[in-house]
Symmetry: C2
Subunit: 328 residues, 2 copies
DNA sequence: CCTTCCGATGCAAGCGCTTACATTCCATGT
DNA sequence: ACATGGAATGTAAGCGCTTGCATCGGAAGG
């Protein structure tokens, strides 16, 4: 039913080899012949069969993006952004992309092989076993938004410390001296970096950090609001909160409203991710911006290069900046 | 390098045909033989090569999800939800999924063929030419969140009218008699349905609809806020606003705050989509819930069946319900 | 006019799997 | 002991493409 290279060959009166070359190496075919082939092809509505091509070339051009985080999926704007970047780049580079969340990674590692996946992008924090599994099947790996010690893998991460530093600096510039950190619900790597960034920034600003001012909560706004209530209801409360995500920041703002604290008047807040909700909150949320799409694109580029045997940098850092709005 | 069916065949001492059967039709192979085959396979870390299989079987098991909406992508929570459902189901049914946004659909239609795409899910409002293009290549099509007259295509849509009706009813039950509708920025189909739903609902509640109470705005919160300012600042203002999306609702709430109107005290608001932001707004937003994931899953099921030649229903309606929170 | 050489083309062998058809095996029935 | 049939297995021909190598044709050089 669908036209094959044979049909084109017959109609144009040249061999299949020539037809093949006319498409994949036009330079090797005489102008005139090439034109005849193209005519025949379009008359037959012929398009090369990518599957057969892959089969013959012994490659699959397939990559996978695994989101390794409990209940974090494409619905999470952050991962969606990365995914968006990955998709775009994959399409552009003619790579098949398989996206999967982590819940079934055990099995994923297996049919990653059967699906002939040549490279895999691991988002969130991947289990070391998973990594070994892929390495054993010598599938090329790129980490995104994570780093793993013990494994020498290329990774692309945001400049977390810088992001936090920018936020802290901004708060300091606005006159805040007592700055609290609210974090939690993220991967060890992220939590680690942001915490370290906070400590560094506070030190360089010459501000003390009290243990009471570093609070853990989970990633929901409700949980954040609860923790924030506790943090903010004391008499000697911080005047600014540096939240680990926009959702947490939203929780903090809820708590502030409940306690009758005006934002930014009596309490300044910064978020992280610069997600869509920043513009919806009242006042609009100042937040650390990361170009997630670029992270995704970079990851694919790295993967592509790695698969092609090109040497790639171990660590690619995507810059962060502060998107200033109304909460400071 | 990678073990093939031949290697397994040799090691286990049976023919490749038997190995093949041991994997794809275990019932046809004697218990004992099957075990030998499996042992050999796992010794060689063999996994069937899906590409070769597809090639032999003359099918690709590839489908595509095209988001046909300017600047709406996976970043839009709504589409992300559908996409999530599609991915899950596609993975479960062992289908390759290609996700692409609409900007390059022209070319997409072409390499959809070369990539051997067997079926395509069209999200948002697709161009009729696109549809014809696919039909010409006889690629099976399923529409999601849209319907197209002139084409007899299976589609899965949410029960928009019911959703609007539920919201209107709820507002009515809370004593509101002057209910405004704020909409815009969506596809003709969605706008049409929701508008019709509004008119229907108001009629059945015995409430009059004044033209002044139906406002158009685009999909951003800022635009919505502006329109809402106008709508709400007159002396004879509506007491409730039924917004076409959560973002628009957020804009309305902003306007209300700016005008000093308390929500829900002096103004009730309902949103649509029941997205993550509902819980972040203050007060939390009452919104129409749609099981988008199920929409995606259903679309894949429909596609699968269609590709298999099974007769499928023309229209699948996913029920909607009202997620009640604090803005009514 | 006849080599020489190179660009253009054709030939045919795979790539790893499935499957129709042929063959072999073995448990029955007689 | 032997015919018989169904179950288990083997044989080999594809699926649509690429590509190393062989072949051909014509321009350039002698």
């Amino acid at each position: 039913m669908k036209a094959t290279i044979y049909d084109v060959s017959r109609l144009s009166g040249v061999s299949t080899a020539t037809v093949s070359r006319a498409f994949s190496a036009p330079g090797q075919v005489k102008e005139d012949t090439r034109r005849r082939v193209y005519e025949a092809a379009s008359a037959l509505k012929y398009t090369p069969n990518a599957i057969a091509r892959d089969m013959a070339l012994q490659r699959s051009n397939r990559i996978a993006y695994l989101i390794c985080k409990r209940q974090a999926t494409i619905l999470d704007e952050f991962y969606a952004g990365i995914c968006e970047g990955i998709m775009r780049r994959a399409n552009a580079l003619n790579l098949q992309l398989i996206v999967s969340t982590a819940d079934d990674w055990r099995q994923m590692a297996v049919n990653a092989q059967s699906k002939q996946v040549e490279g895999v992008i691991l988002g969130g924090d991947a289990a070391p076993e998973l990594v070994s599994e892929f390495q054993a099947r010598n599938t090329f790996i790129v980490l995104v938004n994570n780093r793993m010690r013990g494994f020498d893998l290329p990774c692309v991460v945001a400049d977390e410390r810088e992001g936090i530093r920018l936020a802290a600096q901004r708060l300091h510039a606005a006159g805040h001296r007592r700055i609290a950190l609210m974090m939690g619900g993220y991967s060890p790597y992220i939590v680690g970096e942001r915490y370290a960034g906070f400590i560094e920034a506070m030190a360089s600003l010459g501000l003390p950090v009290s243990d009471a001012d570093v609070t853990m909560c989970d990633r929901s706004a409700a949980s954040a609001a609860m923790s924030a209530m506790k943090l903010l209801s004391g008499p000697d409360r911080p005047t600014a909160v540096l939240a680990v995500s926009d959702v947490v920041a939203a929780g903090v703002m809820k708590a502030a409203r409940r306690l009758g604290l005006s934002v930014p008047g009596q309490l300044a807040v910064t978020g992280y991710d610069d997600s869509a909700i920043c513009n919806l909150l009242e006042p609009e949320l100042t937040s650390v911006h990361v170009d997630v799409r670029r992270m995704g694109e970079t990851a694919v580029d790295l993967l592509r290069q790695g698969m092609d045997g090109v040497q790639t940098p171990r660590i690619t850092v995507i810059p962060t900046r502060l998107a200033e709005r109304g909460t400071v």
